[in-house]
């Protein structure tokens, strides 16, 4: 899909210091009935964000106006569970362009990279430093530099580098997706299919 290019992002961040945040929390299954990609941000973290009568839960971080920004900071093992790409769409649609955690579930990480959300995996210690910086100042800015593959807490200057495979990095920097690349392999695909025993 087409998404905005990602280069350098400097923003305040929203902290969610909970481990094993699964995709059923990010977007509950009952909201998966749409047939288009847009609009899932309204139901991001639906059951943590709203009471059954749809009134906001005051204590949930997305309902707390002192926190804002394009970066979501999550606890370890973020995005476990279902393969629903709707979870990544919801994160993007809400306005986040980057999720930072000390560990990501595989499918969620792939889905993010395919829809223009950059997953940034940092050490557990660095993740803690980010949470502490935001606790001290909810407007604390984080700088994500994709070309340099670095993340910096501007208030303290603390900096760490992160991994991303060069192919995906190039896609994110240019807003490309994989299908154009694969469509160019048509001859290889036809040849493979012809000799495939299954």
């Amino acid at each position: 899909m087409a998404y905005d290019k990602f280069d350098v992002l400097t923003s305040s961040a929203v902290p969610l210091p909970i481990e094993n945040v699964d995709t059923d929390q990010i977007i509950p299954a009952r909201f998966l009935k749409a047939t288009e990609r847009e609009g899932f941000g309204d139901n991001l973290f639906r059951d943590w964000r709203y009471h059954p009568d749809n009134s906001p839960k005051e204590h949930f971080v997305l309902n707390n106006p002192i926190y804002s920004g394009k970066i979501l900071i999550g606890g370890k093992n973020f995005g476990s569970g279902s393969s629903r790409e709707h979870a990544a769409w919801a994160v993007y649609d809400y306005g986040f362009r980057c999720v930072v955690s000390s560990f990501f579930a595989d499918i969620f990480r792939n889905n993010c990279l395919n829809v223009g959300v950059l997953p940034v995996q940092v050490s557990a210690a660095f993740l803690q430093q980010i949470f502490e910086a935001i606790e001290k100042d909810p407007k604390a800015e984080i700088k994500i530099d994709l070309p340099e593959q670095s993340i910096t807490i501007l208030a303290t200057g603390a900096k760490e580098t992160f991994d991303i495979n060069p192919y995906k990095k190039d896609n994110m920097l240019n807003g490309f997706d994989d299908i154009d690349f694969l469509l160019n392999l048509e001859d290889d695909i036809t040849a493979f299919n012809a000799q495939n025993p299954l």
Partner: protein
């Protein structure tokens, strides 16, 4: 060079390797359902292209379907629209579509094996994380996101980094009352929900060799719940016996050609795994979960662990127990329950219904328990009738619903009410998974049956002993 089973199947499907990047993998079989496909088909339309190999693509309706009155129009307009879109998309692209009421309709991971779509050594994907189920046949099978569904529809290929290799051995034998579900929940409880993230798992050892094909499917199904992309087992005589003659399996000369390949699908003796763990089958007892992820499981006679005995953050653990309204150290045995769900791609096959029926036979459903028994497919439903299980279930106060994913993810009306406890044979006990506020206890069909007749968490071995006495 020595190779693992996983390497052999993966390497046989690589079309191209991108330097320092993902590999291009050819996908033999693509399963499609109504929830994760509409945006992918929309993408094809926007690009002006068609499905590259419709004959390698199969569509069913399962996630968002009612389990009652399937002959009537679907009441929920959003669900009805998703089903209509899939039917239209399948027709437009020439994909076989097994919609509601079709004799081959059912949960995508149940009908794949039933109809011979699932074969050893294949690469199989679906926009559903429990696609790992098909690994039971020695296939590389994994769940994908919708962008990847579009990729596979458009090109029959997917870009994937090659996962690391992990082997999980379970040696010895299982005790009576211990099922494949218990083996899987035990492994996940030991490895945690992220213990196999980044790996593709091979299951090995006597316990899996002795297991039926359906049991192997249950185990592989749950691979994703420890973070693994998938899990697989070497195909053997049981595997070939199971698939032979099914509609979409190779026939005649094509079978012989395939068999030459299938005969190679064993991990070489000196192949190296990035990680290897071993357990003993004798150490496993019937399992039940007490928390809000599948790794939070214990042997049914053990208590809920204290925070200091589990890995991870204390705050997360406390949040989880608060959601369940359980206390550290409490016994699980005797906890009252309100709902029982038998079904899902994990435990919705005929052997699961046999196990459940074996316990409830001659007993009665507890009055206060609501039980939803949902077969994984119409073929499973037919077998339940033909084997006489339905009569026993009705006699015991149960009723059978129509096939679908149902209360496993509660996209349809089968929602557990807020605050209620459900013993469920499905795969996830996340907060709200079975309905907003629902509290899920994952367990085997035997534990579910014992709960259904006693109205509380009960060790099924007590009832099994009565049944055989």
């Amino acid at each position: 060079m020595s190779k693992t089973l996983f390497d052999k199947v993966w390497d046989a499907h690589v079309i191209k390797k991108i330097e320092n990047g993902p590999q291009v993998l050819f996908i033999d079989r693509h399963l499609v359902h109504e929830v994760t496909s509409p945006v992918a088909f929309l993408g094809l339309k926007n690009r002006g292209i068609k499905v590259r190999f419709p004959e390698r693509t199969f569509a069913t309706a399962d996630h968002n379907t009612p389990t009652r009155n399937q002959h009537l129009p679907v009441a929920d307009p959003l669900s009805a629209n998703q089903l209509k879109m899939l039917e239209q998309n399948a027709a437009e692209h020439g994909i076989p579509y097994w919609g509601l009421g079709h004799e081959k309709n059912g949960i995508v991971h149940v009908i794949g094996p039933e109809n011979g779509i699932t074969v050893p050594g294949a690469t199989i994907v679906c926009g559903d994380s429990h696609t790992s189920t098909h690994g039971a046949f020695g296939a590389i099978a994994f769940g994908i996101g919708t962008s990847e569904v579009e990729m596979v529809l458009a090109t029959q290929c997917i870009l994937q980094p090659k996962p690391k290799r992990m082997r999980i051995n379970v040696h010895g034998k299982l005790n009576p009352g211990v099922t494949p579900k218990d083996v899987a929940l035990y492994i996940i409880s030991r490895l945690t929900t992220s213990g196999a993230t980044g790996y593709f798992v091979e299951y090995a050892g006597e316990v899996f060799r002795e297991m039926s094909m359906e049991g192997r499917m249950t185990v592989c199904n749950l691979s994703i719940e420890m973070g693994a992309r998938g899990g697989m087992m070497s195909p053997d005589e049981k595997t070939f016996e199971y698939i032979k003659g099914r509609e979409h399996t190779p026939k005649g000369e094509a079978w012989d050609t395939a068999m030459e390949y299938w005969d190679t699908l064993k991990t070489d003796d000196d192949a190296i795994f990035d990680k290897e763990v071993s357990f003993n089958g004798e150490d496993i007892e019937p399992m039940i979960t007490y928390g809000t992820n599948p790794g939070m499981g214990v042997g049914i006679t053990m208590g809920i662990p204290t925070a200091d005995a589990v890995e991870g953050g204390a705050a997360t653990y406390a949040k989880s127990l608060a959601y369940m309204d359980f206390q550290e150290g409490e016994s699980m045995i005797g906890k009252p329950i309100d709902f029982v769900f038998l079904g899902s791609c994990t435990n919705g096959r005929i052997e699961d219904f046999r196990a459940f029926t074996g316990i409830v036979k001659g007993r009665k459903k507890a009055d206060h328990v609501t039980a939803w028994l949902v077969p994984g497919s119409h073929k499973v439903e037919a077998a339940i009738r033909e084997e006489g299980l339905l009569d026993i279930l009705i006699e015991a106060g149960f009723e059978l619903r129509e096939p679908g994913c149902s209360a496993c993810l509660a996209m349809n009306d089968d929602k557990i009410p807020a605050g209620k406890y459900a013993v469920s044979t499905s795969n996830r006990n996340f907060e709200g998974r079975q309905g907003p506020g629902a509290r899920t206890l994952l367990a085997s069909p035997l534990v579910a049956a014992a709960a259904a007749v006693t109205g509380k968490v009960t060790d099924p071995r007590e009832l099994l002993e009565l049944a055989t006495a």
